[in-house]
């Protein structure tokens, strides 16, 4: 319920504050190399957040969230090359991606495509992007001044100060931008799930027919959250190509599509902070594994996935929340009385 949306967002603000502290502290203590690496992890965390929103809260299992991420990155890169600046390019990236998601979502939701086929369609779209863009190596594949570059990809112009195309940001500054974007997206998503719109989306996740029988046009709500999620993924894509310096069709490959789902499963559906945390954890795990040759990277990820699906099916964050709640109940003397609705708020 809406009773005191700010109070319900209290955990969101706490995590946002931790994020802000991290944002200012990290460049003081960490080396530039680590900071640049972190920017990529942050971009991926924004992607995870977008799937946490539409899957965890909207109940839409989109296997191709990475398509919106990649599309955002390509749209940014191509626009930035053509416009000679990043300001409009960022806006274009979000708008093109959202418009694409809205069109795709319109056919899916208004066509009443079932959940399974939704997964198949979104994954197929991702793989179509993958193979189409891979084939664009020739000089004839040009959008304005931007060569698509096939499997080599395109190098992405760095973000500049707003309306000031000559003042590019340095990697450390890009880190600040990325972290701020992650925090803003997180607070926005945390607010959204506590609005009426977000509550109805969660109701649809629980039981779509019931939501319809209450008089909600569920197709509109699903389309709405799907489109918003795609827009957030696009922001992640913009940050990603800035962190890496280029964008290649590999962003659309099956491995990345699966990885996004793994972050959300490990972090936990129904929370926003869980998948963000899981993304950072798994990002550093894979980086650490990359430096050795004893264990295969994919094997470890596969084992983690199986471990979570079988033993921690709710994911890390919801399991911790359940555990804390259970302990609170056991110590009645120290129970804080909570008014309004419990649970379900954004964490």
């Amino acid at each position: 319920m809406n009773s005191g949306i700010l109070r319900q967002m209290r955990p969101t603000f706490v995590y946002a504050l931790l994020g802000i502290i991290f944002m200012f502290a990290a460049p003081q203590v960490l080396q530039l190399f680590t900071i640049i690496n972190l920017t990529t992890a942050i971009a991926l965390a924004v992607l995870a957040l977008s799937l946490a929103l539409i899957w965890g809260y909207g109940g839409i299992l989109c296997f191709g969230q990475v398509a919106f991420f990649g599309l955002g990155a390509y749209a940014y890169t191509i626009s930035a090359i053509n416009f000679g600046g990043s300001t409009w390019a960022i806006l274009m990236a979000v708008m093109i991606t959202s418009a694409f998601a809205a069109a795709l979502g319109y056919f899916i939701f208004f066509g009443r495509v079932s959940d399974v086929y939704l997964g198949v369609i979104t994954l197929t779209v991702t793989l179509i992007f993958f193979s189409l863009i891979r084939r664009t190596s020739g000089p004839e594949y040009k959008i304005g001044n931007a060569l698509l570059g096939g499997f080599n990809g395109v190098s992405s112009p760095p973000i500049n100060l707003p309306w000031n195309p000559t003042s590019f940001l340095f990697p450390e500054q890009v880190f600040y931008v990325a972290m701020a974007a992650l925090i803003l997206c997180y607070v926005f998503a945390g607010w959204l799930v506590n609005t009426k719109f977000g509550r109805v989306c969660q109701a649809i996740r629980e039981n779509e027919l019931r939501a319809e029988l209450l008089g909600y046009d569920t197709r509109l709500y699903k389309l709405g959250i799907f489109t918003i999620g795609a827009g957030i993924a696009a922001i992640g894509g913009v940050l990603f190509c800035n962190g890496v310096g280029r964008i290649t069709p590999d962003v659309f490959n099956l491995y990345n599509a699966a990885l996004t789902i793994i972050w959300v499963i490990v972090g936990g559906r129904g929370t926003l902070i869980g998948p963000i945390g899981a993304t950072f954890a798994l990002f550093y795990l894979t980086s650490a594994l990359g430096g050795q040759s004893v264990l295969n990277n994919n094997l470890v990820l596969g084992i983690i996935l199986i471990f979570f699906v079988l033993l921690v099916p709710k994911g890390v964050a919801p399991t911790i929340i359940d555990w804390v709640n259970a302990r609170r109940k056991k110590a009645p003397g120290r129970v804080r009385r909570r008014r309004g609705s419990r649970g379900e708020g954004a964490q």
Binding site: M1, N2, S3, K196, R199, V200, Q202, A203, R205, E206, N207, L209, R210, A211, E212, L213, L214, G215, Y216, D217, T218, G270, S341, R342, G343, E344
Partner: protein, 242 residues
Amino acid sequence: MTRQRGDVVVETRDLCMHFGGVRAVDQVDFTLFDRELRCLIGPNGAGKSTFFKCLTGQLRPTSGEVLIRGQEMTGAEPFEVASLGVGIKTQVPNVFDGLTAEENIWLSARRWHGDARARALTAETIERLKLGDIRRMLVGRLAHGQRQWVELGMVVAAEPWLVLLDEPAAGMTHEETFRTAELIEEINKTSALIVVEHDMQFIRMISRTVTLFHEGRILMQDTMEAISADKRAREVYLGHRA
């Protein structure tokens, strides 16, 4: 539009719903007046739920028409039917398992009102249906009868002028069944109702006019006494049950 007792609120004309060769609903002409309380009875498989689903937009009829308050609603989406101000409870309980009882009911009230009014209505409904003890509990953890009550709460909280209930007392205890009958009487003070039911005792508690379905058609429409006395009706239904 002002409503008067005696206005037709639900009408079906020559309604048919066929599944392949099965004529689940066959040429049904049905009329419900405002403030009326109508029970639909009939043996299992008589087509009551199918008829119900045609009214609520869950099924698109093979042919025929559905009119709600004079408006053509044949093949409308469920949300369009509900958006007319129709409260619906399906045979299989449909609730939001992962949300609390309170949130379930709030979502119903919130469809029609701003947040403050929706919260007030939610509190009222919880009081009225005596759901205070379970309001903070996840509905998925509740007993079957309680879930049914939460669903009834969702129907009531929307303040509908027409209420459609498919087997509201199914799986309830004796006490709960009795209270459901009371609630239905109370709802009937302000709304018209169609209640699909199996439980004869329950029907005797609430019934005015009863429509008896058999093999997809309306076999009889009369008072419960008259139907109980009718030989044909006893053969298709009452014989095996009451």
